[in-house]
């Protein structure tokens, strides 16, 4: 759990982060969204003390982050950045082993951990351990960067536009992988992005920042349904908020008994995908499958209800 309280950072008397208070519950992903210069990256960097706050405090799992020297604090907080920042003179295994080495783990333990992480990120250890960073594709570098951040098993992971340099297809896959790994490890993640779609996809909660202040901090559904002010509304864009709402729900949530014609859709798909499929194939309902067996159907009416502004 991360508790940020009345945090302010002044540069030359100007508040870059202005009296921010927010709490990220353990095991959740908080996405901080904002335009450039909104203070989102400064806020993130104050959590692992790459930037020292002017006033206010941050507690991680109940302990003030100023209790230990900054470099020791950082060894227990994962940190993944845009452009991955892999050390170009070290192979993949050595890059991933950075923090465990700093913590003085023994060699065998480090080596096992590296293999485990490579496997977790779908990189064959035998093939990739000895590769140099310049021998990897952009997506692979990004995965190694996140693997390095998670190497010492931190309970908190900070990510600064981690997918910013990836092309859309690889980015989509990287986001899915992150969600999957986060579910498995239960890591608390704070992620900075300028992309509202990414925030909606990944965040259990979204903090919208502008001019150093948090304009709204809430679950994605609430932000979409009831933006706190014009800035949040502008960040969201009004054109497709109905579809954004649909993308937050899965077919399983709108499942009803009954039958329907045509190819089924899996129950883990989003309602947005289901609705698009209904429009495309001119069907009023789709059969739903779970683990290969038909379990019911999802209807247009159910999708439309889910996409309507809640009173």
């Amino acid at each position: 759990m991360i508790e940020i309280e009345n945090l302010t950072k002044l540069y030359d008397g100007r508040a870059v982060v202005d009296d921010v208070t927010l709490t990220v519950p353990a095991g959740e992903i908080a996405a901080i969204v904002g335009t450039s210069g909104s203070g989102k990256t400064t806020l993130l960097r104050m959590i692992n003390r790459l930037v020292e706050p002017s006033s206010g405090s941050i507690r991680i799992d109940g302990r003030d982050n100023r209790d230990v020297p900054a470099h020791e604090l950082r060894r227990h907080i994962g940190y993944a950045i845009q452009g991955h920042g892999l050390f170009p003179h070290q192979d993949v295994a050595r890059n991933i082993a950075t923090v465990p080495r700093l913590l003085g783990w023994d060699k065998r333990m480090i080596s096992e951990r590296v293999d485990e992480l490579l496997a977790l990120f779908q990189l064959d250890p035998a093939e990739y351990r000895k590769r140099m960073p310049h021998e990897l594709s952009g997506g692979q570098k990004q995965r190694v960067g996140v693997a390095r951040a998670l190497a010492a098993g931190p309970s908190v992971l900070l990510m600064d536009e981690p997918f910013g340099a990836l092309d859309p297809i690889i980015r989509h896959k990287a986001q899915e992988d992150l969600l999957d790994i986060q579910r498995r490890l239960g890591t608390t993640i704070v992620l900075v992005t300028h992309d509202m779609d990414e925030a909606v996809r990944l965040g259990n909660r979204i903090a919208v920042m502008s001019e150093g202040r948090v304009r709204q901090y809430a679950r994605p559904e609430e932000i979409i349904a009831a933006p706190a002010d014009d800035f949040v509304l502008a960040m969201l864009g009004t054109g497709d908020r109905a579809f954004r709402l649909l993308s937050l729900r899965t077919v399983a949530e709108a499942l009803e008994a009954g039958e329907a014609e045509g190819t089924p859709i899996v129950d883990t798909a989003s309602l947005r995908e289901a609705y698009a499929e209904m429009l495309w194939s001119r069907r009023a309902a789709l059969p739903v499958s779970r683990a290969g067996a038909l379990v019911g159907r999802v209807t247009r009416a159910a999708c439309e209800k889910a996409a309507t502004r809640q009173p």
Partner: protein
């Protein structure tokens, strides 16, 4: 590439042969002498002059490397930033001062011999190494710096594990420049009685013996070319090791 390598090996073989047994080359140099003057310098053995020449250059370059890299590290640390302009100015002055002037000024203090030559070469060698080290240390990718800090390395660990290894190829290029310049500049050390290959050239100039001037010049030139090549080969090896990171830099002086 093959031909270039063969040429280098030939140059090396000729150089070694001449240094060890210069008399064997007497017929080649004989046409350049007049009035039956000796074609080969024999006052001091070429071998001992070459070794002494190389020794002086090595000591001066090594000292310049230690000081220049040390200062480059200091002024790129948070506590040393204020001294960056000052140290740059000092190194620049070292470079603009002509080596002959340094010799002239150093002789009254250090006397004749190797001392003043070492001082001149040392001062002259500082700038290329300092400038390259500075370029390398300040030019590291911001993402790499950020990752090193973010993963919890101390200042010392960042320097030793990340910054210096990545800066090494560029620093090496500075040392190469400095060594090659020193190698040729060392010849004028013989005007203040340092034992360098300049002795052969000066003896030739004083006695009007072109053969001496030529053999002194050729030995120094061949040494410079071979040492330069050796450094370049080592640099490219190191650069490949560091994942081509140094290719991002353009060396400032070369």
């Amino acid at each position: 590439m093959r031909i270039v390598l063969v040429l280098r090996l030939i140059v090396l073989a000729l150089l070694v042969a001449f240094i060890i047994a210069p008399q064997g080359f007497a017929p080649l140099f004989a046409p350049l002498t007049r009035f039956d003057a000796p074609p080969i310098y024999t006052q001091t053995s070429i071998l001992s002059l070459t070794l002494s020449h190389l020794g002086i250059v090595a000591v001066a370059t090594l000292a310049a490397t230690v000081i220049a890299v040390g200062f480059a590290i200091l002024v790129t640390r948070p506590f040393g930033e204020e001294f960056l302009p000052l140290s740059r100015a000092v190194a620049n002055i070292g470079q603009t001062f002509p080596p002959v002037a340094v010799l002239a000024l150093a002789v009254p203090v250090l006397g004749f011999g190797t001392g003043p030559t070492l001082v001149a070469l040392f001062l002259y060698g500082l700038l290329p190494i300092f400038e390259n080290a500075l370029t390398a240390l300040t030019g590291l990718s911001p993402a790499v710096r950020e990752a090193a800090r973010g993963s919890g390395m101390t200042g010392w660990q960042r320097l030793v594990q990340v910054e210096l290894p990545l800066a090494f190829p560029v620093i090496l290029a500075g040392i190469r420049l400095s060594a090659v310049i020193s190698l040729s500049t060392a010849t004028i050390g013989s005007t203040v009685a340092a034992r360098t290959l300049g002795e052969v050239i000066i003896a030739g100039l004083l006695s009007g013996n072109t053969a001496f001037v030529l053999q002194g010049g050729l030995v120094v030139g061949a040494l410079a070319v071979l040492i330069h090549d050796g450094f370049v080969a080592f640099e490219s090896l190191v650069t490949r090791r560091t994942g081509g990171a140094a290719r991002d830099f353009e060396t400032s002086v070369s």
